[in-house]
Every structure is written in structure tokens, then in C-alpha cells.
Subunit: 191 residues, 2 copies
């Protein structure tokens, strides 16, 4: 059994918590008031918007060492929906990994809307969680939790592939905001 | 009726030709021997690998003026499958548009494998052609040809969104090359 701490109690945090518990694993959810409570999980999901990540890392730095830290962010410029706020050759995941050198950072869940986690489907296709990270064991652990919870997990490669995952997340959010795909649709992975 | 010239007679060129004619539009396919024959179509699809685009543009520059030019390339480093060969803040489409200032350049078909064009499906989902471009009329014309041929077309925004389309193409080819998705699968768009 894997224990997962989810920091952030919004749509994504609660949806991921539902996946974790559905698979027989355990979860604790930390809201903003608990931000200084050390994260207990082997896996810690940073389920907060990108601008809040810095504060979470500052509060949790010691407890995140030697943990699998999952970055789910889409670092969009939400004023324009026209760019990311990270450098073109970087990613939010790379920034988080640089800030947490003792953690195993995995990018995941940024290409799955909350509704597709809750419903386990994107249209008629099973929902697939794409994972990028440099630590194979970390991806295996997270992938196991995801698949136990009724989703598919696909390892897309090293953490530098987070750049492409963030491009997909950006495009998908833009399409949903423009009502060209529904918030329970978007990109499905046919494998 | 729209006349489409396709430069390139490989898997993608022939698959796109099949879509065009299925919709009642007309097509001529130019192979390497015909590279200096002026492209006659209102739409000209550059269905050649990225490294060959420069030669095609040099040969066809005059005949591409005032045409809709469709860039389908995925500018991967095919030695490593680990990066694109265009700058991180650029795209193949941006380079082509810069080289053809009198053309209306549309990025399209780089996220659809040939088999999903031929079969009209990605898994159980209809195949969707994602289009990025700065000229609305060009996208409308191309989208009409695509939809007449039995596919869906979605306008994802201006030509700068080609960066995200090329990221998707890159990731999808990498997943297929690693046998994590089949060449008749990959990313479906649920709209």
C-alpha cells in the first residue's frame, strides 16, 4: 500500500485523491491551513496552481526530501491564454526539480482534466496519465497507484519531456476555454 | 471544388491525397522528379520531411505566392528522438512562414499518423486534424477540404501555436517509436 499526500484541495487534488483511494491506497489532503504540516506520503502531489508552488516548497522543503514529488501544474499566462510563463527551453517541472534536488520529481496529471480523472474516460477512451521523470522507480510507484485507481499510466520519458507535456496541457486548456473541446474531453491517448 | 497540390509522394502525401479526393476535391501529387513543376493548387501541402523543405521552397517559391501552404513536418532529431531541431521558442512552421511571406502558411497534419488519416479513426475516435495559422480564410479552406474528406478539423489558433502542435507530434512519434502507442493510435481529440 502506498500513502499519498496531496497538497491542495481543489478540483484536481480531490480528483486525484479519489483515484488513489479507489485503488486501495491511502491519502491525506492538506489544504492551505495545513501547509506547514509535514507531508507524510511516499508520494506527495503538489496539486496547487503554478504560482503557489514556491510557497508550498518553502513550507515543505524538508519533508519533501527523498519523496516522489508530483508536479501537475500548467504554467499558463491565464490573462492571455497565449503563452506559458516558464522559459521556452524549460518547464515548471524543471524548476521544481531544481528547487528540490533531494526529491524524485515526476510530471503527471497536467494533461488530464479533473472530470476525466473522476469519470475514468476521455470520451470513450480510458483516461491516460502521462508521466515524465528521471527516476524510474518513482514513475513505477506513481504508475502503480494510477493504474490501481482505474486509469492508464504511460511513461513518456525523462523529466525534460515535461516541456512537451506542458505544451499539451497548454493547448488543451486553450481549446477547452475556447469551447472547442469540453472539460471532460480533450486529448485521449489510444494505446 | 478546391484543387490541392501535394508535394511529396510518401505515406503522408498519399494519405492526404486520399482524404482530398474522398471529399470530392481534386489533387495532384508531385514527386521529386516534378519538384520544379509549378504547384497548381489553391492549397499546396509540403508533404516532405523537414530537411527537404528548404529545397522544395527554393524550387517552388514563385508558385507558392498567394497560396495556402500547409506545413505537416515534425522537425525531430531522428538520431536521438530526444529533441526538435528548431529553436525552443520557434517552430518549423514559423521558419516556413518567414521564408514564404507571400503565402498563407497553415500547420496541420503533423499530429495525425498516415494510418489514422487512411482509417479516419484514432482508436474509436474520429481522426481530428489540428490546424494553426494566422489567416482565417486559409484555415477555413483547408478545414473544409479535411471535413469533406471524412475527418474533423479543429482550429487551434494562430501560427505560433505550431510550437505546441510540434511538441505533440514529437511526443507522439517518440511514443510510437518506443511501442507505447501503435502507429494507428496516439493522441485522439475528444470534442
Amino acid at each position: 500500500m502506498t500513502h499519498v499526500t496531496i497538497i491542495g484541495t481543489g478540483n484536481m487534488g480531490t480528483a486525484i485523491a479519489g483515484v488513489v483511494t479507489a485503488g486501495g491506497n491511502t491519502v491525506d489532503l492538506l489544504g492551505h491551513a495545513e501547509i506547514n504540516q509535514p507531508a507524510a506520503g511516499q508520494i506527495v502531489v503538489l496539486a496547487v496552481p503554478y504560482p503557489a508552488v514556491t510557497e508550498v516548497i518553502a513550507a515543505q522543503r524538508d519533508s519533501l526530501a527523498r519523496k516522489v514529488v508530483v508536479d501537475i501544474t500548467n504554467p499558463l499566462d491565464f490573462d492571455t491564454f497565449d503563452s506559458l510563463v516558464v522559459p521556452p527551453d524549460g518547464s515548471a517541472a524543471a524548476e521544481i526539480a531544481a528547487a528540490l534536488p533531494q526529491s524524485q520529481v515526476v510530471k503527471a496529471f497536467n494533461t488530464t482534466f479533473a472530470a476525466t480523472l473522476n469519470g475514468r474516460k476521455v470520451g470513450s477512451q480510458p483516461t491516460t496519465v502521462l508521466m515524465a521523470g528521471d527516476d524510474a522507480d518513482a514513475k513505477t510507484l506513481l504508475g502503480g497507484v494510477v493504474e490501481a485507481g482505474g486509469l492508464r499510466a504511460v511513461d513518456v520519458g525523462p523529466l525534460r519531456r515535461a516541456r512537451e507535456l506542458e505544451a499539451i496541457g497548454f493547448l488543451q486548456i486553450g481549446l477547452a476555454a475556447a469551447e472547442k473541446v469540453p472539460w471532460d474531453g480533450g486529448f485521449a491517448v489510444v494505446s
